[in-house]
Structures are given as C-alpha cells and as structure tokens.
C-alpha cells in the first residue's frame, strides 16, 4: 500500500478488530438486554387478588371449634387459567367477633390441620404446632398463624383476601 494511504494512527488489522468488537458488542447488547426483561417480566406482573370472600352465615360455624372453610379463586397465569384453593379456619367465641385464620403455615407454607383431640393446629411438613388462638406451641414457625381481616354483614361473614 502506498504510504500516503497509510494511517499514522493504526494499521488495518487493529481497525478491523475494533470495528468487529464494537459491532459485536452492540448486537449482543441489542439482543441481550431485552432477554433479561423477557425472563423476568412474568415475575413483575401482578397476579394478586383483592376480594371480599363470603363465608356464608355465622350459624354454619360452631362455637370454640376451629372450622375449616375451603374456597377456590380462579387466576390466570401466563396462558393457563387455574383454580387456586384456599382454606380458612373460623373460630367463634361466645360474645366476641369471630377470628379467621389462614391455614397456611407461617414456616414454609404447607397447610395446617386442626387436631381436635389435642386442641392444636398441626403442620405435618416440619412438625409444627399452634394452639387454638394461632400461637406457636412448638416447631419452627417464626410467627403465629396469619389472620384474615373480617367483616360482618348481619350474620353474614366475609374475609378480605389480599395477595400479590
């Protein structure tokens, strides 16, 4: 190559290297950055609910016996419409507002059962026990059973389901 065409700054080879590297990084970024969004966008979407669920008449629930009420909520996850099942234990006491516990163990979200013989909630996953008021008796749970916010409309009981 005649010397008048030769750059004093860099040779052809380094120029090609720099151009290849910058074009390559640009293309990688154009594809790569959207990929992050592509992966995490379903995690950011709100799928939660904020509903008042009717549990029917208070008369359905006996005094001093935590009674399980099951209900289903339909949710859309991606392309699938699925029914999520929930459980609530209703505890009535004479002269007091009812207390409604979530049946989700506060340890790692297994479902608790009421053991009438020992008057305890029992979570079978890691052998956790809660008393009738939801307080931890033994086992790994970090806090008492969660309670739903309630509303009474005459003798009709409603609980507030908030998620997400």
């Amino acid at each position: 190559m005649p010397s008048k065409y030769r750059s004093p700054v860099m040779d052809r080879r380094s120029f090609v290297k720099i151009v290849t590297a910058s074009l390559g990084s640009m293309m990688a970024a154009i594809v790569g950055l959207p990929v992050i969004q592509y992966f995490i966008s379903p995690a950011l979407g709100k799928t939660g609910s904020d509903d008042w669920i009717s549990l029917g008449s208070l008369d359905n629930f006996p005094f001093d016996l935590p009674t399980l009420f099951n209900f289903n909520i339909t949710q859309v996850n991606g392309w699938e419409r699925s029914s999520m099942s929930y459980g609530a234990f209703v505890l009535r006491k004479e002269g007091q507002d009812p207390i409604v516990f979530s049946d989700v163990c506060t340890h790692l979200s297994c479902r608790v059962n009421w053991d009438e013989e020992n008057k305890e909630f029992h979570c079978p996953c890691h052998n956790a026990f809660f008393d009738a008021n939801g307080e931890v008796v033994s086992g790994p749970p970090p806090r008492p059973l969660d309670q739903y916010e309630i509303r009474l409309d005459g003798d009709q009981l409603f609980i507030h389901l908030t998620e997400g």
Binding site: V31, Q37, Y38, S41, G78, W79, E80
Partner: protein, 219 residues
C-alpha cells in the same frame, strides 16, 4: 492484571494457538460471496439462542401450544422480538446457506480434497430444511397444521414405503398431539444434535484444508 490472567490461561489452554489456527489462518484473495458460511453460522447461533429462550414459555401440546405463543407475543416483554428473530432468522438462514452452496458449486470449491466438506454441507442444508419443516408446525395454527398435513402427505406418496413414512412422521394415521410432540423433539433435540456435530466437522475441514481460491484461467 488482565494480561496476567490471559497468559496464565494461555499457558494451560493454548488460546493463542487456537486463535492463530482459526482466525489468523492463511486465505487466498476472496470476495464477499465467501462470507456466507460465516453468516450462516452466525444465524444458526442466533436460532439456537432465541430457540432456547422461546422454550422458556412454549409448550408443545395441542391444548396450549397456540395459547403459549400468543402469550409470548403479547404477555411477555420482548417476546415479539425473540420470536421475530427466530421466525425471520430461520428464513434468512436457509437463504444464506443456499447461496453459500451456490458459491461453492460455481467456484468449484467442492473438488478434491474438499469433497467431504461438501457432503457435510449437504447434510447441514437438509438438516436446516428439517428444522424448518418441524419448526413450522410448532405454533399449531391453521397454517402450520395444514402445511404439515400437506407435507406429510407428500412424503406419503413415496412408492411402497410412503404410508410407513407418513405414519412415522405423524406418529399415527392422523396429525395429532403425537405429531406435535415428536416434531418438537426433532426440532429442539435431534436435529440440533446432528447439526452441532456436522457443523463441527464442516468447520474442522474448512480450517484443516483451507479454502480454495477463486478459479482463474489456468484452472
């Protein structure tokens, strides 16, 4: 620091030797037609990456395939981009590979000692067409359903063994869930495995034998 890390790795892995062999090898004076192999390789890698990403959300069952693609297009951020690259890249790859083949043919680059490179190239083109045929069914829309119906019907016209081929393609007499899942398996496992091995051989031969110069009056 970076230099130290590099020389530590280079001493153990021989990175410089790999670089010199692959990127600094001697080539004759060539023209732009000689870039189509690299272009096909680049597009193939893009198809691999976007394909893996699509499999995050796609499901190959008749009751959800179409819905999952609708979800990719409308429910996932940049889903349209990932699928768009996969969709258009597929057509472009066939185009670049085909013109690459024409270049090799018209420059006589398939001749001794490069016959086997040509044979692996033919395998790659057929595999790419196989990827196109199997991938076309996966959206499970009207167009893909009937395209596969027609495509497998054509395969069924082969004398004697046609019916057997048609049934094997469809996984039974009819186009069904079995067809979709076996096309999916072919598309993401079997063809990619074949292509990976064949591309490896193809590139090894290109590097081992070097590329032939553009024919001149003497040749």
């Amino acid at each position: 620091m970076a230099e130290n890390v590099f020389s530590w790795l280079d001493e153990r892995l021989g990175l410089k030797a790999i670089y010199d062999t692959i990127l600094d090898r001697k080539v004759p004076k060539v023209n732009w037609w000689f870039t189509l192999g690299s272009a096909s390789l680049f597009l193939g890698i893009m198809q691999g990456i976007t394909g893996m990403l699509l499999s995050v959300y796609y499901v190959p069952t008749p009751d959800h395939a179409y819905d999952s693609i609708t979800f990719i297009m409308t429910g996932v951020q940049f889903g349209w981009l990932i699928r768009g690259i996969h969709h258009w890249g597929a057509s472009l790859l066939i185009l670049t590979a085909f013109i690459h083949m024409l270049r090799v043919f018209f420059y006589g680059a398939y001749k001794y000692p490069r016959e086997f490179t040509w044979i692996t190239g033919v395998g790659l083109l057929i595999s790419a067409l196989g990827m196109g045929f199997t991938g076309y069914l996966l959206p499970w829309n009207q167009r893909s359903y009937w395209a596969t119906t027609v495509g497998s019907e054509i395969a069924g016209t082969v004398p004697w063994v046609g019916d057997f081929i048609l049934r094997t393609l469809r996984g039974g007499t009819n186009l069904s869930a079995l067809t979709l899942s076996r096309f999916f398996s072919l598309h993401i496992w079997i063809f990619p495995a074949i292509i990976l091995a064949t591309v490896g051989t193809h590139l090894y031969l290109v590097i081992r034998l070097g590329i032939s110069h553009i024919p001149d009056k003497d040749s």
